[in-house]
């Protein structure tokens, strides 16, 4: 199994840490993983994205231009990455702020109202975990117990108390994800 994912949105949406938790979850189930961020000033204000690969085999290139799944969280990223999804691949997006919705017919498309839901949960910090939950619902490539372990590994100990809230957000995301096409 190899899953090649791009997660893209605004800086500050938790794109990078979502990728990190995913990668750690992969490690917890003994997979090879790689996490390759965009970096530098383009992250400030502008978009941030990260390529995450989970695989049962040695990962050759950490840099990709075609993905199994794209998780897209703003319009710029939609413009940039919709076209990079492999035919038959998956697109998951939050429609909030999206003006041009995806048009491809050869991929599976899902929506997650994560911004709305995180606001409803009273904590915008859960946004990225809701998205993660949605993704894992569609593609359960890592076991929930490994996600929890991954969270533990990726968060500093002083933040471990936040894990239940995060797991709740993940569950929430799994509940509210909707298939569009």
């Amino acid at each position: 199994m190899t899953e090649e994912i791009i997660i893209a949105g605004f800086g500050g949406q938790g794109v990078l840490s979502m990728g990190k938790i995913l990668a750690y979850s992969g490690i917890m189930q003994d997979q090879e993983v790689s996490w390759m961020p965009s970096y530098g000033p383009e992250m400030r204000g502008g978009t941030a994205n990260v390529t995450v690969i989970l695989s049962d085999e040695r990962i050759s290139s950490p840099v990709l231009n075609a993905f199994d799944t794209a998780i897209i969280l703003n319009q710029q990223s939609m413009d940039k990455f919709e076209k990079t999804i492999k035919p038959g691949g998956t697109l998951l997006y939050d429609p909030n702020g999206i003006t041009h919705h995806p048009t491809r017919k050869d991929i599976k498309i899902y929506r997650i109202q994560a911004a709305e839901a995180s606001a409803a949960m009273g904590n915008t910090k859960t946004f990225n975990m809701i998205v993660l939950g949605a993704f894992l619902k569609i593609k359960p490539i890592v076991l929930m117990e490994n996600v929890e372990k991954g969270l533990k590994k990726s968060l500093p100990v002083r933040h471990h108390k936040l894990i239940p809230m995060n797991m709740e957000a993940i569950t929430k995301g799994a509940e509210i994800v909707e298939e569009v096409a």
């Binding site: 605004f10 204000g45 703003n74 319009q75 702020g97």
Partner: protein, 73 residues
């Protein structure tokens, strides 16, 4: 004595929602929109008609977003 009235024009798409203008305005004319602009920022907007055209908002705006008019009426 003629009354001085002012008006500002906010170039919403250039605004970055930094809120610096809101603290600078002596008349509390400006507040942040709950909507975001194309860049994802809650932009500045006028919330009353009390502008006196003092330019304070404009001179502190880092992004030269605000145009100010003033007239004696």
């Amino acid at each position: 004595m003629a009354k001085v009235v002012g008006d500002i024009v906010i170039d919403i798409e250039r605004c970055k929602g930094c809120e610096v203008c809101t603290t600078a305005c002596p008349q509390d004319v400006i507040a942040m929109a709950s909507e975001v602009n194309g860049k994802g920022y809650h932009y500045a907007m006028k919330v009353n008609g009390n502008c006196i055209g003092c330019s304070n908002c404009a001179v502190v705006c880092p992004d030269a977003v605000i145009t100010v008019y003033r007239a004696k009426i």
